[in-house]
Symmetry: C2
Subunit: 308 residues, 2 copies
Amino acid sequence: MRFFLTADFGGTQIRTAAFAEDSLTPVAHLKIPTRGDGTTIERLVSALRNVTPPQGEILALGVSAAGFTDAEQGMVYATNIHDMHKFPLRQALADALHLPVFIGNDANLAALGEWRFGAGKGCRDLLYLTVSTGIGGGVIANNQLLLGRHGLAAELGHIILVENGPLCACGRRGCLEAISSGTGIANYVREQLALGQASSLANIPQPTARDVAAAAPSGDKLAVDALTRAGTYLGLAIANYIAIFNPQIIILGGSVTNSGDFLFKPMHAAIQANILSPVYLEDLTITTAELGDNVGLLGALALAQMSL
Amino acid sequence: MRFFLTADFGGTQIRTAAFAEDSLTPVAHLKIPTRGDGTTIERLVSALRNVTPPQGEILALGVSAAGFTDAEQGMVYATNIHDMHKFPLRQALADALHLPVFIGNDANLAALGEWRFGAGKGCRDLLYLTVSTGIGGGVIANNQLLLGRHGLAAELGHIILVENGPLCACGRRGCLEAISSGTGIANYVREQLALGQASSLANIPQPTARDVAAAAPSGDKLAVDALTRAGTYLGLAIANYIAIFNPQIIILGGSVTNSGDFLFKPMHAAIQANILSPVYLEDLTITTAELGDNVGLLGALALAQMSL
């Protein structure tokens, strides 16, 4: 039998899996913390060896990497993994495993995974946004992943929406991510609580976006307002992206989308209010991701399959 | 001999030209006002017949159309030409001239022209912006024109930069076009004059962006401020587009770029101030368009050549 190896790593977890050539169900998979004994690359290689089938041919390795990724040069510039900043990941993995190695940014590969195996199957022009701790994006244009010169395209969380707006993890102000990500939602709620706004969230020491989502259904005004604000700016950004990409489908993933209509209703209203022309919405599908937690591994699988 | 026919039309002018198969110098060309005797389509067909070589084979017709253009369906949705709104342009031209007809949005085809024949030759990932009465855009990603589902992608003048900002020709508020286009510059100056700001422009009844550009070199503060404001927001938008497209080259065209450093200096400063990461700027070229007034016809020529 012939197999693909895949890996998906971020600041918290390393996940690896082996897939038989024509299957989406892994024959072996593993999840370990990113931090622990050894360097990150040692842990990654070990986690890959642990899922490598004892027999059969390994065709290639696909890797979904957190943060900036220069797919062409095989370099990663992770900001939240200290020994993976400006690191020649592809070369290091090829040297260790003697395989063809293909790497990509996590959000780009999530877009690729949803396009090839998930909610975006058969769509030529697709926009993917993951709204989680941060906000990442991926674009399929004319059946190709939008990479740009160095694979740094589609940083869709970092469009500046509000001049001198809230501080973003990227160091700038007013990015979509600073407002509509889980971090942005939590920061807003903490700010409002500090200003003395009444809310059931005042009882929680450091409320998170998950706490906000949990408080909204019982009608907590601050929780509902925070999600409305996040959804409204998400919709404004999406209206911009629709005029930039004219997609056929927009796929939303990430933990913040679990807030459901508290996020989506204001998002849809803002898209309608800010769209350049109703023509763009005529046959546009806006939906949620299908691949769940496996999106990184399946995106890496798609990359490996398509790159060979 | 074999020829391509080309046309470039907007609210003011219809331009047509015939090119020998391997030449960028037209063998015949014509410029007529869009408004006059007959319908726009009649005038367009007549202007094309007038440049058609009497002998030889015509391979195809390429058309650069103002406004929204559904390249796949061959429909145009011009807003400033009353009889070209929701008009089946490709079919009408094919019926009249019995040729393969390819149409595209003017800014998209300008990008294609600069990429194939002008400042962007050899660049895989290119961003083109024309800053004129309005602001249009075109993107080449991985050597392909970014069209989106219906050819409506790359409306780069209509990113919303300022919530509840100045009114745009599109009907919304705070678009890049509403601030940094010639119209945006003129509107700002008129507003400031109405508020009583002193300026040499106060002597001109309805000062235009051209008047503003003419007043800046003598140090007129309002003129300089107006161009600084336009350049700053242009740079902010470009910083966003760099993180979205990771281009290798950005090409700026359109009459407002004649303001030179009064526009470009604040633009570059704003790009530096707002860029997501300096990595994006490392080998990025930002330059001006090369094809001048012929960009529409040459873009249409590129489209016809590449579509055959």
